[in-house]
Amino acid sequence: MERAPVNRLRSKAVSRRRRPWRIVTAFDHYIKAVLPNGLTIVLRENHAAPVASLWIWYRVGSRNEHPGMTGAAHWVEHLLFKGTPRYTESEMDRLISREGGARNGMTWIDWTTYYETLPADKIDLALDIEADRMVNALIEPADVRNERAVILNERRGAENSPTFRLFEEVQAAAFKVHPYGHEVIGYLCDLESMTRDELLSFYRTYYAPNNAVLALAGDFEAEDMLARIARRFGRLKPAMRIPRVSAVEPDQTGERRVIVKGEGATNYVLLAFRSVPATHPDFFPLVALDSVLCGASGLSFTGAVATNRTSRLSQALVDTGLAADVAGGVSPTIDPYLYILFATLQPGSDIDALERALWAELDRVRRRPVSQDELDKAIKQTKAQFVFGAESVTNQAFWLGFSEMCADYGWFYTYLDRLSAVTLQDVQRVANTYLSRDRATVGYYLGQG
């Protein structure tokens, strides 16, 4: 049985003045609070299993990188695993693992995040480590050297995949001004030339409590947890000035095309349309449109559990033998990013024919409203995904934090309601607005056999 932290906090309102945190929102087992140093805390109690998951999110990703520094956010993420004066690299690994914990770090275009999922009575270990490495990462020259080699290997591993190379080229063509145009891992030349001082400076600029969100879900009591967090993070100093991204991508006024040639016999097609941020009113109609075209997106950070065999594009491209697979996705982002459609061609399939069939389906969805059944299916699929995703506290904490990066938790909390409010006319309108050829970047990967 879940407790209601809201009521408990209210009942103790008299003594709340002495507490260092300020409650911003509290509802339905969820609390959002802020420490005086600016650290945002989002908590969700869940007593279904004796585990807890801590995610610390920094508002820094490849979006915050400039030419010459591409890959810095991801590299710094690697360096935060290399240790602090308090915890060596091996000690961090050992302490988490010997408690049976899972941990990792991830960098994306808008954010960098680190998580530990542990037995609930061991979660203080994660709090200690994250508070420590928020400001005390050593970033030693030898570690920078070592991780440069590791990341170059990571990049080479990615380059082995044709789809990585295609996506990198399409992304670069789709953005001329905004840093969303480069891959998170960064360009080879920057990975070879970036210095330790530059990385250290990047870390000190962006790693601070007032640029972070701490998300925690699991088997704990919220009031007690706030105190434990405040004890560890409360004394960390906020950064004086955190640079904001000012780049605005100019409107695209015509189709762009990219061709990548490479090894292998398989061809791929990627269509990328300039999209909207998570907070834009058209975001949810685009999610609905994507569900109709390609099936509902999964709401688990570990991947979707859903097929899309009855989606429009699967029927038009896969069932006809043109493609072996088709997928789509609209990502919740801070700035306008991309709506992606991706198809893997079957052997012998004509790539021009596939693209024509794809555009024909997009024309169809622009000309005539989708059916109510299609929209209902999208909503039911998403509802099921919410239920499945809620089983894991790791997934819950992921969404607590992720939604704060691109909007706020209310955005995620009302996700289903907002999706359910989408009308057939909304779907047709956004199809006409965003899926036009003039907003598209079309990429081909042509396997050379």
Partner: protein, 458 residues
């Protein structure tokens, strides 16, 4: 900083630290088990934390039944080709992939329309020894999903047109595999590890030649011959009462009567006579995929927990264990490296896998072999073993946080006949392992002088 001073005595009397709520650990006391008259075993575990439910399980039909084994053109296969002269590698997986292309009175489109309209998921996949299935849905849709599962497993119609569609997708997957360095290294590795005629030598996914040659008759015959409720297992975990779950399975599968022929024992998987190395050239690739290893133990080996701990020390714990320390953390030679025990119902391979810069392959192989030798020659430090023991025990709650995780554990216990109280005794069994045990299993199972080395890359 915690003390690092430990000794074997301390390891032997580890405090009971397992963060396991024993009331919630799946065990004989809370797993409702029944066997239908046709031999199907059903296990149900109630979990009302979320209104969802998972169905997992398997039936005994797999690539092992695809005699004769091997790709067309290989002498061992041509000598024993079936009556049509066609080899069958990939047949079991193809059958599984085609089950949902039409079943009972339902067309492919109707099957997926029904599944996707309720936000559910159903998947059937062919493996080496068994064909596995997985369904997930809101609990209100469980009766429908169990009925649908029985329809696709028992009454597939294999429509010709749909088989050709599935074949097209299969050929694409094989074409992509041919351009994947890691997949190609895996194929070569298995060929080096297992002798001609051994099913483990060949790909479960088959080869382009077999993908093109298999016919609808092959599919129908394989299904008719090998799909059977005998020794089949269905596990249901979620917000449903156990008796209701049992009743659903009884209703859907109880009348199914089909016997499959006895499966001959697996051929022997002898130790390699010498180290052997093969490279698959893939011009244009930036990185080389490397696999080093040899045939390993079956999951049913009595030393399995010792082996799993040994493997964790070598290439799993924290960030890839000792290998991660030597190869990534200290030298930056790779992004990822790990060691893997793939033993299942038979002697699956044990291997180290990594993605390596082409110029550094020999150096990484050298370190891998040196670390294998070190485990054989020197006892692990008690502290290192203890850390791994804690990890094995402490990670149990995380592994059983979701319905998926619990169902996976129950299937595992059923498949390998571990007993339903296996997880209750698991912490004690893990704690009982000593450094001498680790050295002993390393000496028995790791053989750095007789390894298969497979590489694929530029």
């Amino acid at each position: 900083m915690r003390s690092t001073k430990h000794n074997t005595h301390r390891v032997a009397r580890l405090a009971p630290r397992a963060q396991v709520r024993y009331s919630s650990v799946p065990c004989a006391a809370n797993i409702a088990q029944a066997e239908l008259s046709n031999g199907l075993r059903v296990f149900a575990y109630e979990n009302f934390a979320s209104p969802s439910v998972v169905v997992r399980g398997y039936l005994v039909a797999g690539a092992c039944d695809e005699a004769p084994a091997g790709p067309p053109g290989s002498p061992e296969v041509d000598a024993g080709a079936n009556h049509a002269g066609v080899n069958r590698a990939g047949l079991a997986a193809f059958v599984a992939d085609c089950l949902m292309r039409g079943a009972g009175s339902l067309s492919y489109e109707q099957i997926f329309q029904q599944i996707e309209s309720i936000g559910a998921h159903l998947d059937v996949s062919g493996g080496m020894h068994t064909t596995g299935f997985y369904a997930k849905s809101l609990v209100e849709d469980l009766p429908f999903m169990v009925d649908l599962l029985s329809t696709v497993l028992i009454h597939p119609t294999f429509p010709s047109e749909e088989i050709e569609r599935e074949r097209g997708e299969w050929l694409t997957t094989l074409q992509e595999r041919a351009n994947s360095a890691s997949a190609m290294a895996g194929l070569i590795f298995n060929e080096l590890c297992y002798p001609a005629g051994h099913p483990y030598r060949y790909s479960i996914e088959g080869y382009p030649e077999t993908a093109r040659a298999l016919t609808r008759d092959d599919l129908v015959a394989f299904h008719r011959t090998y799909f059977s409720p005998q020794d089949m297992v269905i596990v249901i975990v979620g917000a449903v009462k156990a008796e209701d779950a049992h009743a659903l399975v009884e209703r859907a599968f109880g009348a199914w009567r089909a016997n499959r022929p006895a499966r001959p024992p697996l051929p022997a998987a002898p130790k390699l006579q010498a180290s052997i190395r093969r490279h698959h050239a893939m011009p244009g690739k930036a990185q080389t995929s490397l696999m080093v290893g040899h045939p390993g133990p079956s999951r049913r080996d009595p030393d399995w927990i010792k082996l799993a701990l040994m493997n964790s020390i070598l290439g799993q714990f924290g960030m890839y264990g000792r290998l991660g320390q030597r190869v990534r953390k200290e030298r930056g030679l790779v992004y990822a490296i790990g060691s893997y025990l793939e033993g299942g119902l038979g002697p699956g391979p044990w291997h180290i896998s990594a993605g390596v810069h082409p110029d550094l392959v020999d150096r990484v192989i050298e370190i891998c072999l040196a670390e294998m030798r070190r485990l054989r020659e020197r006892k692990v430090r008690p502290q290192e073993l203890q850390d791994n023991q804690f990890y094995f025990i402490g990670s149990l709650p995380l592994r059983m946080e979701t319905n998926d995780g619990i169902a996976g554990q129950i299937v595992h216990m059923a498949r390998y006949e571990l007993g339903l109280d296996y997880l209750l005794h698991y912490p004690d069994r893990v704690r009982a392992v000593t450094p001498a045990d680790i050295q002993a299993v390393a000496c028995t199972w790791l053989d750095p002088d007789h390894v298969a080395v497979a590489t694929a890359g530029p």
